[in-house]
């Protein structure tokens, strides 16, 4: 009993750690949130140069003020249906921790919504969907303004095992 209580206590502690500002955006009909501290900038859609021999969700590379950075389509990454890029399509440039330090990457999303302050009390741990859906990319689910926002662990999304696989695919 005490153990369970401690476990609960611990869970809520880690959820408390997750409170803070999130940049929210939409993908298909769903709302997502990214920790604002990871966001470098938000840019409109631009020409992407495709890189051969990469998975479909790697859209390619762009020229971000003289730097070449890779761009990932989050819809494709999450197995959602691909969509035409439109006026509201954005690339959110994030900085994630790679094996050799911080790296910048772009993620394509349908549209950017707002910056939300989410308190720890409003965050719940990711629900379990069994084997149908893996939730390793999800920090938690936040209740805000009557809807829910899926809070993403963007480090895991962009540098997780699959991306590591991407590296070995090349070598």
């Amino acid at each position: 009993m005490a153990q369970v209580a401690r476990q609960l206590q611990q869970d809520s502690n880690t959820l408390q750690d997750k409170e803070g500002k999130y940049l929210t955006f939409t993908l298909a009909a769903e709302d997502y949130g990214l920790e604002i501290l990871k966001v470098r900038e938000i840019i409109g859609m631009m020409d992407i140069t495709a890189v051969p021999q990469t998975p479909e969700y790697v859209k390619g590379v762009i020229n971000l003020r003289g730097r070449v950075i890779p761009v990932i389509d989050l819809r494709l990454k999450f197995g959602l249906e691909a969509a035409e890029y439109g006026e509201r399509t954005c690339i959110i440039v994030v900085e994630v921790q790679g094996a050799a330090g911080a790296v910048q990457m772009g993620v394509v999303v349908d549209s950017v919504s707002e910056v939300l302050n989410i308190s720890g009390d409003d965050i719940e741990p990711p629900p379990s969907f069994g084997s149908r859906l893996k939730t390793q990319y999800i920090l938690g689910i936040a209740k805000a303004k009557g809807t829910i926002k899926i809070l993403l662990d963007i480090d895991k999304v962009l540098t997780g095992e699959e991306m590591a696989g991407l590296e070995s695919l090349g070598s």
């Binding site: 604002i36 140069t49 021999q53 070449v68 790296v103 070598s171």
Partner: protein, 753 residues
């Protein structure tokens, strides 16, 4: 009021931190803004519920402004940030005085800014106060620790440079043990290291450098003589110091305590050497030595004469023998004898006052004043310059501008492009450093190698000032070490062998660096035995690299040593000859877009020439079109371009494709198929075949068309994409899009799977 004190104290501290954050915000710095907002949120919770409503309002407004800045709804970011700054200082005043400044400067500015940004003011004026605007936040205490770390890091770099200088100084000293300037050149850096280490509180480094320094000081004062033992001990000290610096660097990055090193062995040896006591007399230079150093006779002449002196009856003076042999005129001998006398006197004086002597110090190049810059900054500058050039060409190609025929505009544009080109050249040159440092590292290596293999080697370094890209310098180091090892170990003979062949006992090794036709060339030349072509041939046949009937030119035979797994050394030494030799060297150099050439003559020696581009950051590229994509091929690798006739195209088992170029059969790789590009040219007879060479093999690449040749700046594709096979990186093309640069090593590997 008093029970609120801890909270309000916390608030004031928090607000001060917040003010610092605002000051450090940069335009578009989203994480900074994010952390500002988070901080604001925590402070809001500290507010007592009964606090003035305008304070809460102010908090809300600041939050709103922050959010709008992030979403880029406020276009005048600088003003928005100033507003944040003013808001925070208002809050600070309130937190200190518990009332709002009435009509204070800060409040006025805040209202004006918020109106300009279209964010309505708070409506009512806050209550009175006579407070001054907030003072600057107190300096962060942590800053000192950070500063210390930076100091330590720069100490490590500097100390390493000093140690390198010491090493080459010592080797020089070994040849001229009485050269006071040389002793000083070794002594001074130790002294510097000791001083800085003491200042940074690194006791062990300080202790060790002190020990060595005191030993050298004895020598400087003429109390002991520089001999092999002292040089060896000093070198041991240098090696130990290097280890310590290594440890210090690791400790710094891992934030762990320093290792403890055992210094007793060195300390006791220093003591021993010091106790040898004052040497009776400072040795004078021999007449022969003076003559050689003046260039009057060669060292081989001297050796012959010395030999004669020993064998001939009565042992006539050296000068007499030389004159008799017609090597030199009596007058010159006389002058050298006078030199010897004055020098003796000078040494005697020098022993008393070390500062007054002149000597031949190791090339202490005259340096223009320099500053140290973080490499990242330079890289950034080079990147931005590349961008500026592209932006400029975009402006020039703007269709609206092309329609304008205004002479002044034309002139201004021309002026601008001249300046940008010049700027780019300057920024590129900032990455260039003289190669001397790398070459000088070989001095110690050659000395150690020569000792181990019991050979006499005289090293000549030329062209130290030749400039090369910083990144190349690091990449070239390993191949260079390997080739120098080979030269000493395999190339040069032992003194005995040399004498049998009538050569002077000491071998010569030249390291030469120079610019030639936009390339840097590094020669490694020795006057040793030259490549043994018979043995190379025998070995190649043994390894199955050759068929018995093959006819090869001497150059082709020499190049066999670059084949994988080839090593001609009969015995494997601990120095070289592990069979992972020259093929690795060639690969490394080819990866640097360079080439190695061999010139060898039996019994006379060999010369290896490494030819590389000046920089790795820019390559000469051919832009090719494949379907709707553009790729860049390094021009250096392209041998020829052709459109094969139908009868020169063959398939093998319906899959492999081959084209015949003159009499050579070359495998064909279709880039569009490999990279799955849409709309690629499907048949070789319609597209273009680029014949490229890598690692001695040729391969044909099918592309649609060549779009042009240009210099491109190589940029990494980032960590996740850097290992894609067949791609070396990306570059920004003239239209601002990214073009991908092909990597031949990868393409060749792909072609074989």
């Amino acid at each position: 009021m008093t029970d609120q004190a801890p909270d309000s104290q916390k608030l004031i501290e928090g607000l001060e931190g917040l003010a610092l954050k605002v000051v450090m915000l940069e335009e578009g710095d989203l994480p900074g803004l994010g952390s500002f907002l988070n901080h604001l949120e925590t402070l809001k919770e500290l507010l007592a519920p009964e606090c003035a409503p305008e304070v809460t309002l102010l908090f809300q407004q600041l939050e709103e402004v922050g959010n709008k800045l992030i979403l880029q709804e406020i276009t005048a970011a600088a003003q928005g940030q100033e507003l944040l700054g003013q808001g925070v200082s208002l809050l600070l005043i309130w937190a200190r005085e518990h009332k709002f400044p009435k009509d204070g400067e800060a409040w006025k500015t805040y209202c004006r800014l918020s109106q300009e940004l279209g964010l309505g003011g708070t409506g009512e004026r806050p209550p009175q106060s006579e407070a001054e605007p907030a003072p600057a936040p107190a300096a962060d205490l942590e800053g000192f620790i950070w500063e210390d770390q930076e100091l330590t890091a720069s100490f490590i770099t500097e100390a390493r440079e000093h140690l390198e200088g010491i090493e080459s100084g010592l080797v020089h000293l070994e040849q001229a043990p009485t050269d006071l300037a040389a002793i000083n050149a070794v002594f001074r850096p130790f002294h510097t290291i000791k001083g800085v280490a003491g200042f940074l509180n690194l006791p062990q480094i300080q202790e060790l450098s002190h020990e060595v320094e005191s030993l050298l000081d004895e020598a400087r004062a003429g109390r002991i003589e520089i001999n092999a033992a002292i040089i060896d001990l000093t070198l041991t000290g240098v090696d130990r110091l290097k280890e310590m610096l290594e440890d210090l660097q690791e400790a710094l990055s891992e934030k762990r305590p320093l290792r403890t090193f055992d210094l007793e062995d060195i300390k006791s040896q220093v003591k021993e050497l010091q106790e040898q006591g004052p040497s009776g007399e400072v040795p004078k230079r021999q007449l022969g030595e003076i003559l050689v150093s003046q260039g009057e006779i060669s060292s081989s002449d001297l050796n012959q004469a010395l030999e004669k002196q020993k064998t001939e009856a009565g042992a006539p003076p050296l000068g007499e023998i030389l004159v008799k042999e017609g090597k030199i005129t009596p007058k010159k001998v006389a002058r050298a004898l006078v030199d010897q006398l004055t020098e003796e006197k000078a040494i005697g004086e020098a022993a008393v006052s070390p500062a007054g002597t002149e000597g031949k110090a190791p090339a202490d190049a005259q340096m223009a004043p320099t500053i140290k810059i973080d490499l990242a900054k330079v890289d950034n500058l080079v990147n931005l310059m590349g961008e500026l050039v592209i932006a400029q060409s975009q402006v020039r190609q703007n269709p609206n501008l092309l329609g304008v025929s205004d002479q002044k505009l034309e002139r201004d544009l021309a002026q601008m492009s001249r300046i940008t080109t010049e700027l780019q050249m300057i920024s590129m040159s900032m990455r260039m450093i003289p190669i001397g440092q790398t070459l000088r590292k070989m001095v110690r290596l050659v000395r150690d190698l020569a000792r181990k293999s019991k050979k006499q080697v005289e090293l000549h370094i030329e062209g130290e000032e030749t400039e090369i890209d910083r990144n190349m310098v690091e990449a070239i180091y390993d191949p260079l070490v390997h080739m120098v090892r080979n030269a000493v170990d395999h190339g040069l003979e032992t003194p005995k062998e040399r004498e049998v062949q009538g050569k002077p006992p000491e071998g010569h090794l030249w390291l030469r660096a120079y610019h030639k036709g936009g390339n840097v060339v590094i020669d490694i030349e020795e006057d040793g035995r030259g490549l043994d072509r018979d043995r190379i041939l025998a070995k190649a046949q043994e390894r199955g690299l050759l068929q018995p009937g093959d006819q090869l030119t001497p150059a082709q035979i020499d190049n066999l040593i670059f084949e994988p797994g080839f090593s001609t050394a009969e015995k494997i030494t601990d120095i070289s000859g592990r069979g992972v030799g020259m093929d690795v060297v060639r690969q490394t150099i080819e990866r640097l877009q360079g080439k190695v050439e061999i010139h060898s003559r039996p019994k006379e020696g060999s010369r290896f020439s490494i030819r590389m581009p000046l920089t790795l950051a820019i390559i000469d590229g051919l832009v090719v079109k494949v379907g709707k994509e553009r790729y860049i091929l390094p021009a250096v690798a392209v041998r020829e371009t052709l459109r094969p006739a139908a009868e020169d195209y063959f398939t093998v088992q319906g899959q492999g494709e081959i084209i015949k170029v003159r009499s050579q059969l070359i495998p064909l790789l279709r880039l569009h198929r490999l990279f799955r590009t849409e709309n690629g040219e499907t048949h070789p007879t319609k597209g273009l075949v680029m014949v490229v060479e890598y690692d001695g093999k040729a391969q044909g690449l099918l592309v649609d068309d060549i779009l042009g040749k240009q210099e491109v700046v190589i940029k990494s594709l980032g960590e996740t994409l850097q290992n894609i096979k067949g791609l070396a990186g990306g570059t920004i093309l003239g239209d601002g899009r990214v073009g991908l640069i092909l990597d031949l090593a990868g393409l060749f590997a792909l072609g074989q799977t």
